[in-house]
């Protein structure tokens, strides 16, 4: 009997039909709406927007639904859509000083101008399963809270407070010209910080988490403190060429993390704090912190530090941070490889034969 290992159009169609059925689950249960996903799985939506590199909560919710909750698959869907969109205009840099702040904490000062605001955090929850949620009772429905107003005075960042004393490195001067774009120019090494931050912002949360963790355990230690983490909504402004001044086109939710790191100084720079920066869409705080640690580790070369750990190595970090690339290439091993395998078989059989001949001759 000839065992056909080759599929075809009918197999693909059948697989798609089965996938659609599995996605829907038990048809006796109501179908998930995009609004439900957007509102009740909002951190999943935020992650998909951040790593999908497209701020659109409704499309991210659609991607999550279509991907059956597989967030990396959802990120891929959003990326593939994003790449088809025309680039109309580049916004002005967002000003996180004028953020409508929902959460703002500093781990370096007990109190500071603007105060500590805990906001909607899991931090001090005891991780006990809440069976009231399982009962789906809306009895203890929390009151809806309105978003805070845009602050009249910008909320100072901790890094700026340290800057007054000269204890932290100067803020990077505005680089000449526009920042690069890794989606329009292939990344080459060494990559400047603007490109590295872009790659980290799109990078996989799990990868950045593990790599930043490795720096905490001694593989390229950077002595970090979480100077500040803030989360809230910021205005996005553009300058239409025909107007010549900035107009606000909407708001996005972001989380910003500034790490300060001890630096003993060298010939080029005095002892001072140095910084690592993280910014993500939505409430992806873990990602923002991991990004800030990774950013600081990747500044090793410019700060004259020895490269001794993977997290400090640009080529290693930036070539492997993207989960759409990694997921595709790992999973391509599912594709048929029987031609290559046949070549390996042919080679192995020859080597085996020669090995046996040699052994017999030796005996």
């Amino acid at each position: 009997m000839y065992v056909a290992v080759k599929g075809g159009e009918r197999a693909i169609d059948a697989a798609h039909a089965l996938l659609a059925e599995r996605r829907r689950g038990d048809p006796a249960l109501p179908e998930l709406s995009l609004a439900q996903i957007r509102e009740q799985l909002s951190l999943a939506v935020d992650r998909v927007m951040a790593e999908g590199a497209l701020y659109d909560p409704d499309l991210a919710a659609l991607a999550i639904k279509q991907a059956r909750g597989d967030l990396i698959e959802a990120i891929f869907l959003l990326r593939a859509y994003r790449t088809t969109l025309p680039r109309l205009v580049a916004s002005e840099p967002v000003d996180t000083g004028h953020m409508r702040i929902e959460r703002r904490i500093s781990a370096t000062f007990k109190d500071l101008p603007g105060g500590q605001i805990l906001g909607p955090t899991f931090d001090y929850t005891h991780r006990l399963l809440d069976f009231a949620l399982a009962a789906e009772s809306e009895a203890a429905r929390p009151a809806r809270q309105s978003l805070p107003a845009v602050p009249a005075e910008p909320m100072p960042r901790v890094a700026e407070i340290l800057g007054g004393e000269g204890l932290i490195e100067d803020a990077p001067a505005d680089a000449a010209g526009a920042p690069g774009d890794i989606t329009r120019t292939p990344l080459s090494y060494p990559a400047s910080r603007d490109l590295r931050l872009q790659a980290l912002a799109r990078g996989d949360e799990g990868f950045l988490l593990a790599m930043s963790y490795s720096t905490q355990r001694g593989y390229g230690h950077t002595h970090p403190f979480a100077a500040e983490i803030r989360h809230g909504r910021v205005a996005v402004e553009v300058v239409p060429p025909e107007l010549g001044f900035a107009i606000e086109i909407g708001e996005i939710a972001v989380t910003e993390c500034q790490m300060v790191n001890q630096f003993k100084g060298n010939e080029a720079a005095p002892p001072q704090f140095t910084g690592g920066y993280g910014l993500t869409f939505g409430g992806a705080e873990r990602k923002a912190m991991a990004m800030a640690l990774a950013d600081r580790a990747l500044r090793a070369t410019e700060l004259g530090e020895e490269i001794s750990a993977p997290a400090q190595d640009q080529e290693f970090m930036l070539s492997h941070a993207d989960n759409v690339e990694a997921s595709g290439f790992v999973q391509h091993l599912k594709l048929p490889h029987y031609v290559d395998f046949q070549s390996e078989l042919d080679l192995l059989r020859r080597l085996r034969k020669e090995w046996e001949t040699r052994r017999e001759a030796a005996e």
Partner: protein
């Protein structure tokens, strides 16, 4: 054939992107074997599944082209079906399984057995474009090695194979020297297909989507598989003939047909096999 997909541009990519890719292709053709970086786009198919080849094909295909897509030599493997459908849907172009009728052949892991003709274009899907990658994972260094034609480490690797194992142990994706200048990966084709690249009358384009590189072999480019005078390059050989068409000179797939290890050997190139059968039944 169905009309092109209404929601998307012809062959999916926007014209700006196609222009960028065509520029990279032109540069690649001008410097045979040199890997040209290009701003690869995210495609609606996964990285590692042919996104480089798809972008190259999308940038060169026209409405009057006739496309053939093969994976492992076969037109009916699932990924070949999927890519052929992608272009039938987004470009509305005619497709074929016949090597002789195709103007563009996108391939993964094989070069057809039927000799290619002038005017035909082969598009290879490339997973890892850098031939020095296993010797030097850092691109900052491997690019410099190419610039200086510093390929000694590859010869040392091949020599060490011979010293330890008695022969070169690279089974597929066997390194070639292009036009006497650039070391190149031919993509994971078997060694069997390497000689078909040498001075081929067809244009050969190589697209690596995830790694964002394009390289090319213009027609009639000398392509030499690396070897030594006393250890010449060899290709795979079988003691069997194809059990379907009887071919004795084609690359064979080995198929396990029972749990006692019985094997059956058939042509990997399905079009070649079918054409031979047709000719036999006609005569």
């Amino acid at each position: 054939m169905s009309a092109a997909h209404p929601g998307y541009n012809f062959a999916y990519l926007d014209e700006q992107t196609k222009r960028m890719i065509r520029r990279a292709i032109l540069k690649a053709v001008a410097v045979p074997g040199y890997q040209v970086p290009f701003a690869g786009r995210e495609m609606p198919l996964p990285y590692g599944w042919g996104t480089g080849g798809i972008q190259v094909t999308a940038s060169i295909i026209g409405a009057d082209d006739r496309l053939k897509v093969i994976d492992q030599g076969a037109d009916d493997t699932t990924n070949a079906v999927s890519i052929r459908r992608f272009f039938a849907k987004t470009a509305g172009v005619a497709t074929t399984t016949r090597t002789t009728e195709a103007t563009i052949i996108q391939t993964r892991h094989r070069v057809p057995e039927t000799p290619l003709q002038a005017g035909q274009i082969m598009v290879f899907q490339v997973p890892i474009p850098e031939p020095l990658r296993w010797l030097e994972p850092r691109e900052t260094r491997s690019r410099r090695m190419h610039a200086e034609a510093d390929y000694g480490s590859m010869y040392v690797k091949l020599y060490e194979d011979i010293a330890r194992m008695g022969r070169i142990t690279t089974a597929y994706d066997y390194p070639v020297m292009v036009n006497g200048r650039y070391l190149m990966r031919p993509s994971p084709i078997p060694r069997f297909d390497n000689p078909k690249l040498d001075r081929s009358p067809a244009l050969m384009l190589f697209g690596a989507g995830r790694e964002k590189r394009i390289y090319a072999l213009p027609p009639h480019t000398p392509v030499k598989s690396l070897d030594f005078e006393d250890h010449p390059f060899t290709i795979e050989r079988w003691t069997q003939h194809c059990q379907r068409c009887g071919a004795g000179d084609s690359f064979l797939d080995e198929i396990v047909i029972d749990d006692r290890g019985t094997r059956r050997f058939v042509c990997s190139d399905t079009d070649h096999c079918d054409a031979r059968l047709e000719r036999r039944s006609a005569s």
